[in-house]
């Protein structure tokens, strides 16, 4: 096949990628959008095989079989609650592939001579390596692998800055002396270290930002590889992903009222001297039982359920869905209030509730549900903490001051289902738990909701 036909096919693939990504932005068109993306990828792969540069097929066939097998098994076996770590893992592999492709182009030699191509090679290796190791660390943290816990790097900001500066220097040397590919690999190894160091100290609740950002990086790495190979389809597909990841990153940062720099490099400031201690705040906590909650629900007309990461941990989504169904059968209006950063990745709660067959029109966004919170009879908070902490509104010195929250405290009665009074990620007490209209139901999320469900059905 002549290169004109290959380029035309690539153009078709690019169009399909754009349309596919557009499809992913609406629930009705999303399945088709994803299939268009997959078709575009298939087309791009198939026409590439007709490229005259390709003479041997065994390595390709073997690689595709091994990779497809691993990918398919992971994609079909993984539990929905483990989705954040799976996305992190896939993302890392994309970044790793960019490092290797740019390295291969360098090792192949003769085609790579122009300075701009070497710059792209260095960029591809650098971004790809940071994406690879950063994503693997994010995976390990999300999977809660023990060895990753509690590791901290002394003088971290300086280590990061130093590693980045040395990477830049090595990249520059490589541009001036492309004949030494060792420089490339040294830079890539150092960038791997930088990726680890950047992500290792980032806490669980900030993971949505990190995953979105790494997603963006993997796209930019693919784009850089496209510059190395002068290949438009890589450049366009990569930059689409880069842009989409950046948008998600910004949405996540806005939802926490924090800047990207603060999430990546800062730590949440410990609450100043003005903050009350947990004992003072929790002096008047009232606890309740499943039966009492069932009685409240029995007379309620409008119920809002606010899930958080705790729902994922307790695998409570199916039980919650059953409870919602039971209440809807009793003519109660039930909605779910979803905070943008609830969970460990953007949209995490929505996926879990979709898995449990909760119709997506019951899932309401924060800005949508807050104005009507005053008319809600019972708000049930399940495994969420900081995203419903009223201190964000009331205490300007609090570390979460200004963060948009779901105003559950305005509901007539608030039921908080939680194992204990332990603080959330921000490490501050939550006055909601001791509020006049709040009842605490202590226990495992799934068991507690299941008890409520039983009591509702008996009542």
């Amino acid at each position: 096949m002549s290169s004109v036909w290959i380029d035309l096919a690539y153009l078709v693939a690019v169009i399909l990628f754009v349309l596919g990504l557009k499809g992913l932005t609406h629930p009705r068109t999303a399945v088709r959008g994803n299939l268009m993306g997959a078709a575009a990828m298939l087309l791009a792969v198939v026409v590439t095989l007709f490229d005259q540069q390709i003479v041997g097929f065994w390595l390709i066939i073997l690689g595709v079989i091994v990779g497809s097998g691993i990918g398919a098994v992971l994609a079909t076996r993984i539990a929905m609650t483990a989705m954040p770590q799976l996305v992190a893992l896939f993302n890392g592999f994309g970044g790793g592939a960019s490092v290797l492709v740019a390295g291969a182009a360098l090792a192949a030699g003769d085609s790579v001579t122009a300075k701009d191509v070497i710059i792209a090679t260095a960029a591809s290796g650098f971004i790809g390596a940071v994406t690879f190791s950063g994503s693997l660390v994010a995976f390990a943290k999300l999977q809660e692998l023990d060895f990753i816990e509690g590791i901290s790097i002394p003088y971290q900001q300086w280590v990061n800055a130093g590693a980045a500066a040395v990477c830049l220097f090595l990249g520059l040397l490589l541009v001036l002396h492309p004949e030494y590919d060792t420089l490339y690999w040294l830079m890539a190894i150092l960038a791997l270290g930088l990726g680890v160091s950047l992500v290792i100290s980032i806490g669980g609740a900030d993971m949505p930002v990190v995953i979105a950002l790494l997603n963006s990086y993997s796209g930019l790495a693919a784009s850089a590889t496209g510059f190395v190979l002068s290949n438009n389809v890589l450049i366009v597909a990569g930059s689409l992903v880069g842009a989409s990841g950046l948008i998600l990153t910004r949405i996540m940062c806005d939802a926490m009222n924090r800047s990207l720099a603060n999430v990546l490099f800062g730590t949440l400031a410990p609450s100043g001297g003005g903050g009350e201690s947990a004992d003072e705040v929790y002096a008047n906590v009232k606890s309740t039982s499943a039966d009492e909650v069932a009685m409240l629900l029995d007379v309620a007309q409008r119920v809002v359920i606010v899930p958080g990461y705790g729902m994922a941990v307790a695998q409570a989504q199916h039980t919650v869905s059953d409870l919602a169904d039971a209440l809807i059968d009793r003519q109660v209006r039930v909605e779910f209030g979803i905070h943008p950063v609830a969970g460990r990745m953007p949209g995490h709660m929505n996926v879990l509730l979709a898995e449990a067959d909760v119709p997506y029109d019951l899932l309401r966004e924060m800005d949508d549900i807050n104005p009507t919170m005053g008319q809600v009879d019972v708000a049930i908070v399940l495994g969420a903490n900081d995203v419903v902490n009223p201190l964000a509104r009331t205490d300007p010195n609090s570390p979460i001051a200004g963060m948009p929250i779901i105003d559950v405290d305005k509901a007539r009665t608030v039921i908080v289902i939680k194992r204990s009074l332990s603080p959330g990620f921000a490490g501050i007490p939550n006055p909601l738990f001791a509020a006049e209209n709040t009842l605490m139901l202590f226990g495992d999320g799934r068991a507690a909701v299941s008890d409520i469900l039983k009591a509702v059905k008996e009542g």
């Binding site: 990628f17 629930p27 994803n34 540069q53 592939a97 190979l229 948008i247 998600l248 990745m345």
Partner: protein
Amino acid sequence: MLDISTMTLLAAETSGSSMLLLTVFVLAIFVGFEIITKIPPTLHTPLMSGSNAISGITLIGALLSAGADIHWFANLLGFLAVVMATVNVVGGFMVTNRMLEMFRRKE
């Protein structure tokens, strides 16, 4: 380090097509911003895993490195890249499809 003469050298040795590629890159970023603003939060996760699968497009480059008649080391790197990129692509599209089917079921 990077004095004026190196800079001119860099500019001089820049291959002609790279400005065109840069133009494509910048325009594509704008297209990306335009089509993805206003995603409903419901679809954040599938959008992320779907776009993640698209970033596995590096597979194209991996195929060229694995199959070309070049140094064996470059072929080996290409092979490893094919494995990684295929995991990303196949796994990414499949898991996105699995999630989206869950969203569609209730229609």
